[in-house]
């Protein structure tokens, strides 16, 4: 079963240029660390995907082993782990998060446009 969960995670991370694994939802985060991360991401002004790990216990149990990161939230951009709340906040305050998110989003939109053309 775990293999199926790993495949599911891989699929989520590969098919969403910006995806956050968090406790709760962006509208109702269930943990201060997830809430702080959401604040930073929302400030970047781009759409992002999220997975509520509280309602997906198998992802909660499996992702840390896959990503080599034991805690939540976890942000992935273009398939790569960017970090958790502390790193996201640090990058946001240093002005590094917004360009990362904007550029990833722009590349994804360009790729989508190519696919449709």
């Amino acid at each position: 079963m775990t293999d199926a969960v790993v495949d599911n995670i891989k699929d989520q991370i590969e098919s969403n240029p910006i995806i956050l694994y968090m406790k709760g939802s962006p509208q109702a985060p269930q943990c201060g660390f997830s809430a702080q991360t959401i604040n930073c991401l929302v400030e970047c002004g781009e759409r992002f995907a999220y997975v509520d790990i509280l309602s997906n216990p198998d992802i909660r149990a499996t992702l840390p082993g896959y990503s080599n990161w034991p805690t939540f939230p976890q942000l992935f951009v273009e398939g790569e782990l960017v970090g958790g709340c502390d790193i996201i906040t640090e990058m946001f305050e240093a002005g590094e998060l917004k360009p990362l998110i904007k550029e990833a989003s722009a590349r994804a939109q360009a790729a989508e446009g190519d696919a449709e053309a």
Partner: protein
């Protein structure tokens, strides 16, 4: 510049009594990394847990050993060292890691006494 790092002195600002988990965390970090500064703060009292809990911690680490590592790799090195504690008593771990140069860039040449990194941005105005 090869100054002998000061012996890491864990902050005593975190309360009068250090619990066993805090002691283990401090010892492991101080022994494993060559640190110029180490702060381990038990923040459990800010959370909805019984008095005396050791479930929520904040770490501030400053060391040259982190200079060549990515942000993710820095955190992973701490996660790995504290894997047993993270799988056990520690529920949440805030980690702030700097190279000495980054620390100076951010906080100036002030001695390595840690400002609070609570994340409210109030340090930005300094």
């Amino acid at each position: 510049m090869s100054t002998t790092p000061e012996h890491p002195t864990p902050s005593s600002a975190s309360g009068p009594l250090k619990g066993p988990v805090q002691n283990i965390v401090e010892t492991k970090l101080a022994e494993h990394f060559d640190l110029q500064h180490l702060q381990v703060e038990n923040e459990s009292s800010n959370h909805n847990v019984p008095a005396g809990s050791e479930s929520h911690f904040k770490l501030v680490l400053v060391g040259e050993c982190f200079a060549s590592m990515s942000r993710v790799a820095r955190h992973q090195s701490v996660h790995e060292l504290l894997a047993a504690e993270l799988a056990g008593p520690i529920h949440a771990l805030a980690i702030h890691i700097f190279s000495p140069e980054q620390w100076r860039e951010r906080f100036g040449d002030a001695p390595l006494s840690p400002p609070c990194l609570g994340g409210d941005g109030s340090l930005e105005s300094a």
